[in-house]
């Protein structure tokens, strides 16, 4: 945990990254506020979805936008430092958060399954409705999973920042210690 706080401290001590995070938050918050309630509008995203916002969706929008802002600022810092940023969990978190409301009640999933129904005719009936129904009735769990993925990504990237750039020599076991090598 200390590593995470150290990593965040290193990045957000710099004004550029504070501004970067704020700018990303300013863009991400309206995006999430308009996207998360889109299960009520059949996957349509826009100002019309705002009327379906409730306390839970507003909470998730604030948390996910906040995490995304911190995370992207960390990733920008790592890339600028020439370090490798961990993007898989971040991509997963964004994808799960955004696709959950879109897939639940829009035609996207039935159409996508329709493309493969030629090869597997029973697939549309068997999977489409079941999957959409599951997504629709487990939105809270899926938004929580998206939040956890973003937290994991934040943890991984903040630790990378805290560790700093590592100087590895190809072919050398960097985990070798004097004790292991018998050089003491």
């Amino acid at each position: 945990m200390n590593g995470v706080l150290t990593g965040l401290g290193i990045v957000f001590r710099l004004r550029t990254y504070r501004i970067t995070a704020l700018a990303i938050f300013a863009l991400a918050l309206p995006f999430y506020l308009m996207t998360l309630p889109s299960s009520f509008t059949g996957g349509r995203i826009g100002f019309a979805t705002l009327r379906y916002l409730d306390a839970e969706l507003t909470f998730f929008a604030l948390v996910m936008a906040g995490l995304l802002a911190l995370l992207l600022a960390l990733i920008v810092y790592l890339v600028r430092q020439g370090q490798r940023a961990r993007k898989a969990s971040a991509s997963g978190g964004v994808a799960v958060g955004v696709l959950t409301p879109i897939l639940c009640c829009s035609p996207a999933l039935p159409i996508a399954l329709g493309f493969v129904a030629g090869a597997f005719p029973t697939l549309v009936g068997a999977i489409g409705g079941t999957l959409q129904g599951f997504i629709a009735t487990h939105k809270t769990e899926l938004f929580s999973a998206a939040t956890v993925l973003l937290l994991i990504a934040l943890y991984q990237n903040a630790r990378s920042v805290a560790k700093g750039p590592s100087c590895r020599i190809p072919g050398v076991d960097t985990a070798a210690t004097p004790e292991r090598t018998g050089l003491t």
């Binding site: 299960s39 009520f40 509008t41 059949g42 996957g43 349509r44 019309a48 979805t49 379906y52 993007k87 971040a90 991509s91 964004v94 994808a95 955004v98 696709l99 879109i102 897939l103 639940c104 009640c105 829009s106 035609p107 996207a108 039935p110 159409i111 996508a112 399954l113 329709g114 549309v124 009936g125 068997a126 489409g128 409705g129 079941t130 959409q132 129904g133 599951f134 629709a136 009735t137 939105k139």
Partner: protein, 171 residues
Amino acid sequence: MHRVFATLFITGTLVFGGVAQAAKDLPVKAPPAKFASGGGKQIPLARYKGQKVMLWMFSTWCPSCAAGFQALVEQQPVLAKAGLRVIALKNYRNGGYPGPSLQDFVKRFGSPLLKAPNWTFGEVTADMAAKYNPRRYPDIYFLIDEKGMLQAVDGAPGATMSTIKKFVGLS
């Protein structure tokens, strides 16, 4: 991150591409079909010829369907006055996922509509699902004019009320 944007792009293309495809071939003659009434009777759509009909198929686990009921409750006075007949049918096998019963769902989200004279409730039969909703969209409606011609297909009435109003001649 580019994978996320690719996924979003494909999803968007599927959603709006699908709607565009459905709208391209209209108007067409509405296929004859029967639905199951609350009492289990098979009622042919032809019974409603001569009326402006909104044939709505919904699933009781679907948030946009709940929002659709709430929006239609708000608009009921003007839509009834404009002569719209709404046939609201629970999807065949509830769209593939369990949920509340038709009665419980409508009582919760659209109870004033249960007594509305221009509303008919029932369930989609297997035959009707095959003709009207083979891809099993959880929330889809068909606007059929007095001559039995299918004029528009869309979903989520709460978000597409302008389409319904336009169909009945309200701007």
